[in-house]
Amino acid sequence: MKDRRTKTRRFLEVELPVLAILVFALAPYIWMVLTSIKPQAELSLWPVRYLPENATLDHYRELISRTSFAGNLLNSFIIAAGAAILGLAVSIPAAYAFSRFRFRGRRMLMTGFLVINMFPVVLLIIPLFVLMKNLALLDTFLGVILGHSTFAIPFAIWMLTSYFNAIPKDLDEAAMIDGATRVQTIRLIVLPLVAPGVVTAGIYIFITSWNEYLFAMMLSGQSVRTVTVALQLFIGEFTIQWGLLTAGGTLIALPVTILFLLVQRRLVGGLTAGAVKS
């Protein structure tokens, strides 16, 4: 549709409202980062001083040297990477089967994986805690990774199935006529084509696992505590030290923001595929 509005009118009717929405969307984030670089003295001023007069990285230094935060960052990284690897390892073959084979129970199983994703966390978290306790997996990396797999696997299967569906079946068939086995076909023909989708699904699992709080809180103790759980404990411990807390928040938020912006375009496509297709 051609826009016949004048430049000024378009500015007032479109660009200005968009700008207001962007400010609303980003202001809390920016405020967190600004707080983290203000010295303690400027944080207790009233009325509030918006921009830091003497910007400092003291809060970050203190956070890393005085608390367990660096170790928590490493734990979160191991768990998120582990959840992504485990999730992809079992979801890729499953998604391939859903995409390429027509078998009895296919529809029921796929629907089942979708329904699982809708389960309330509280429905699973209590027995999962008991289960991990009995298996001696409480406070281990594997325990938290398995906890995160409850949402990672169903999600990855649905996302990857739609990516596999986008690759024509004729390719597989041609390869197999040429004498390739099923496994060779997958490895040499299908996987390279679906690689961008696999990376997107992996990054999405990484982000959700990194961000996750409830499972991590229930299933981790001191030795594998993640950043989100640690930060929540700091909120209780250092109530008035907002510089320290916002520094921690910034360190947690920055990596996922960057990852998210990197894969956003494809991710949005994958997430909305189900909603838009009609």
Binding site: M118, R182, N211, Q232
Partner: protein, 297 residues
């Protein structure tokens, strides 16, 4: 579907491909879900698991008499309608704006999604800090502009705590609606608008007769999906108020979690979780039916 190319296709091939995913999912989702049902029929306290006694439906009977349950249920209703409704309206407005053409549109589309990528703990932290009574930026701005005379204890006042947390969640979730609806808007053929323009339709008429009907399907799916997520979400509340002051920010999932985690009453907590699941079942059913209608193609 066995063609000549599928000579090596055995009846059991799909089963092998699916086995790892099915085995893990059964162990960490299905078994726990069934266990929740079992737990809900017992008087199960975490610190004395061997003393768990079968009490039939007495947990459920107790819940119906439980005043806090009814309070939490009421809050859940306000929570779902308020959060999903405002996320939707804000998201729809954002999507319609971002579908217009202006030179920095790509930049705006990328950045507006940022709140959605953030962990709930960080959202709780950011907003708790902005709501701070003594040096919070929200009180500061409202006092500076003369809207309020004195700072307000947003999260400590029973009448304001729930709406304050809802604002944080609306902020986090509206980008989801915005990008989903935007994706729907982009599928509308521009010929429709051109034809309407020739027929002399104005902008409002085009919105009502072309845009909204074309994206009705996308909106319905997004609304169902968000309703399920928002109904289940409790971590932002947990971080910001823990359910307080009093029971002012108790919702159903939060109450279930608090009973299980703080009081260690796993049987009672499990019964509450099951009630939440049953209440959501209709919405889940509607969503799953929509999402899986293309499966057989």
């Amino acid at each position: 579907m066995i063609t000549s190319a599928h000579n090596s296709f055995s009846r059991w091939t799909p089963a092998w491909f699916l086995a790892p995913a099915l085995a893990i999912t059964a162990a960490i989702v299905l078994v726990p879900a069934v266990q929740t049902i079992w737990l809900s029929l017992h008087d199960y306290l975490l610190y004395e698991p061997d003393a768990a006694t079968f009490i039939g439906l007495r947990n459920f009977a107790a819940i119906l008499q439980d005043e806090v349950f009814w309070i939490s249920l009421g809050h859940s209703a306000i929570w779902i309608v308020g959060v999903v409704g405002l996320q939707f309206l804000l998201g729809l407005g954002t999507a319609l704006l971002l579908n217009q053409s202006f030179w920095w549109r790509g930049f705006a589309r990328a950045l507006v999604v940022v709140p959605w990528a953030l962990p709930s703990v960080i959202i709780g932290l950011m907003w708790t800090w902005m709501y701070d009574f003594n040096v919070g930026v929200l009180n500061d701005m409202l006092v500076r502009t003369g809207i309020i005379d004195a700072p307000i204890a947003w999260l400590a006042r029973p009448d304001l705590a729930l709406p304050s947390i809802m604002a944080a969640l609306i902020w986090q979730g509206f980008p989801f609606f915005a990008i989903t609806i935007l994706a729907g808007l982009q599928t509308i053929p521009s010929e429709l608008y051109e034809a309407a323009e020739i027929d002399g339709a104005n902008r409002g008429q085009m919105l009502r007769h072309i845009t909204l009907p074309s994206i009705a399907d996308v909106i319905a799916t997004a609304l169902l999906l968000r309703t399920i997520w928002v109904a289940n979400s409790l971590d932002v509340i947990l971080v910001m108020t823990g359910g307080g002051p009093g029971y002012a920010t108790h919702t159903l999932p939060l109450y279930s979690f608090v009973r299980a985690y703080n009081s260690m009453e796993f049987g009672y907590g499990a019964a509450l979780a099951l009630i939440l699941t049953l209440l959501l079942l209709t919405v889940v059913w509607l969503y799953v039916r929509r999402a899986s209608r293309d499966l057989d193609r």
